[in-house]
Amino acid sequence: MMELRKTLTGKIALTAVATVILLFLALPIVVILVTSFSNNAFASFPPDTWTLNWYKALFADGSKWPAALSLSALVAALSTVFSLIIGVTAATALVRSELPLRSAVFALVLGPLLIPQIVTALGLFLLFEPAAMLGSPIAIALGHTVLASPIAVLILIATLRGIDERLEDAAASMGAGRLTIARRITFPLAAPGMIAAAIFSFITSFDEFYISQFLSSVDTVTLPVQVYNSLTFEIDPSVTAVSAILIAFAILALGLVALVRWLGSGRQESLLSVENTVGVANPAGDAV
């Protein structure tokens, strides 16, 4: 595309418009971060005076936030465990086996990502309401796993595809059993992908709103539902502080994923070079 509209004015115009669009994406977040420290949490921007009151208010007596936060953390932790179990097994089946109806299984996995979440939420409500499980952290976590596990499966499929099967063959040729291979070769190589899958499952569940709203009860409210309620029914300026914490949390999680990916990126190469120095047959050594 460099060939098109190469003129200087065109370039400047495109850059200016692109900058405005980037601001369109970033400004709501910046504004929240700044406002959470502002004395005047609902009106003027930039703020006149600064304060930490909204953060202090989160932990004041009678605040609903600690309970909502701990419920969300519990639900997200459960959902992460469920998603990892489902993700690891499903990715193994889809990448490393001869699976009948593979494309049907794959379509099933993609389903929850494509169907409107409100429809999934309504269906889960119809499932859990008669079972009197509304408000149960287990029910909410089971519901969140419907959305989180497909993401875990997709990440782990990519992870398994990226692992050179010859490493496992090499280990087998040197007498390692299947468990040893899984423990010493496959697991260490898949670990960065598994950590990424866990982080994304956790965020998905932690931020999930539609299912939480349908499966919550009056006493058990997840953090996003509490944020929504604070924005619709109540006037609670400390919601800016919660929002700022959620932004920090999202950035931290993304940074963690990037770090894990970066730390993991050298592993396979180093194993392959060990393989070469040890002198194991490497039929396609030049391709490594």
Binding site: L14, F42, V109, S173, G175, S243
Partner: protein, 293 residues
């Protein structure tokens, strides 16, 4: 040790090995399949069933008739209109931004992509709240715009601004991928044959990215259909969307059958959209084959 040696040795008959791999595959696929059948397929199936049942359990189409008349019908039209407006805007913004990023040097492109990706992972509720603060009477936007304050919230303008910013990361990421996939030699070839910049853009580049544009637009349309966080918080009573209606019917009116019918309508619209995406992308694939890239 001897046992592990035979387990690892590739000396088994091929057939046996294949059937073992099949058995392992079925075993490992069981968790995800069982999970999603029980907690995804069955609930949607029971939604469908419920939408076709009357209070006494007999078959009826009453809930669909109800969903497609009066106020409910206008909610359906509002949903389609807001989703279409959002799709067009996120497509246009997404195209311009992806275009600009694809011309940047890698370092700057990486930074720009970060600005696209980070908001995508920040809760939609939080970003919506940011918009509410920004678009208020004394918010950032009204402070900057001369001649204000303008009514930017609790109307369709507010909803479309907010929803577009939620869908934009999807379209940018999709279109950026499509643009990087374009074989630049085709553009150079057209230029070498004497085509001007506008002609190259119109006759070569646009047809190549058109399927990607269509998919990105349809995707943001589909995602907007079932969305209500932003419309509910940034809109007024005239911006009620199907998802909000479903939520109200269940939580306020205890009207499950009606909510189920609304849900099925939303599902059908979504599936129709997805089918279109599939058709469009297979058209794109055959076009790329014809172009020999």
């Amino acid at each position: 040790m001897a046992a592990t040696l035979t387990a690892g040795a590739p000396a088994r008959p091929r057939k046996l090995l294949a059937s073992r791999r099949t058995r392992v595959g079925i075993l490992y696929a069981l968790p995800v399949v069982v999970y999603l059948l029980v907690l995804f397929v069955y609930p949607i199936f029971s939604t469908l069933l419920l939408s076709l049942k009357d209070a006494d359990g007999s078959f009826t189409l009453h809930w669909y008739a109800d969903a497609l008349t009066g106020v409910n019908l206008s909610v359906l039209f509002t949903t389609l209109r807001i989703s279409a407006e959002t799709a067009v805007l996120s497509l246009v913004f997404g195209f311009v931004l992806a275009q600009a990023i694809s011309r940047l040097k890698p370092v700057w492109a990486g930074l720009a992509m970060l600005v696209v990706v980070v908001p995508h992972f920040v809760s939609a509720l939080v970003r919506t709240y940011g918009w509410i603060i920004m678009l208020g009477d004394r918010g950032l936007v009204n402070e900057w715009l001369p001649g204000g304050p303008y009514q930017l919230l609790y109307n369709e303008l507010g909803v479309v601004i907010g929803t577009t910013s939620m869908m934009l990361p999807y379209t940018v990421l999709l279109l950026y991928g499509v643009m990087r996939g374009v074989d630049r030699r085709l553009l150079a070839a057209a230029a070498s044959m004497g085509a001007g910049r506008v002609t190259i853009f119109r006759r070569v580049y646009l047809p190549l990215v058109a399927p990607g544009l269509a998919s990105a637009g349809l995707l943001s349309f589909i995602l907007s259909l079932g969305y209500y966080i932003t419309p509910a918080l940034m809109g007024g009573p005239n911006q009620t969307m199907i998802a909000t209606l479903i939520n109200q019917q269940v939580t306020k009116e205890n009207q499950w059958n009606g909510a189920a019918a609304q849900g099925v309508i939303l599902l059908v619209l979504t599936l129709a959209g997805l089918l279109l995406v599939k058709v469009v992308s297979s058209l794109g694939a055959s076009r790329r084959r014809r172009n020999g890239s």
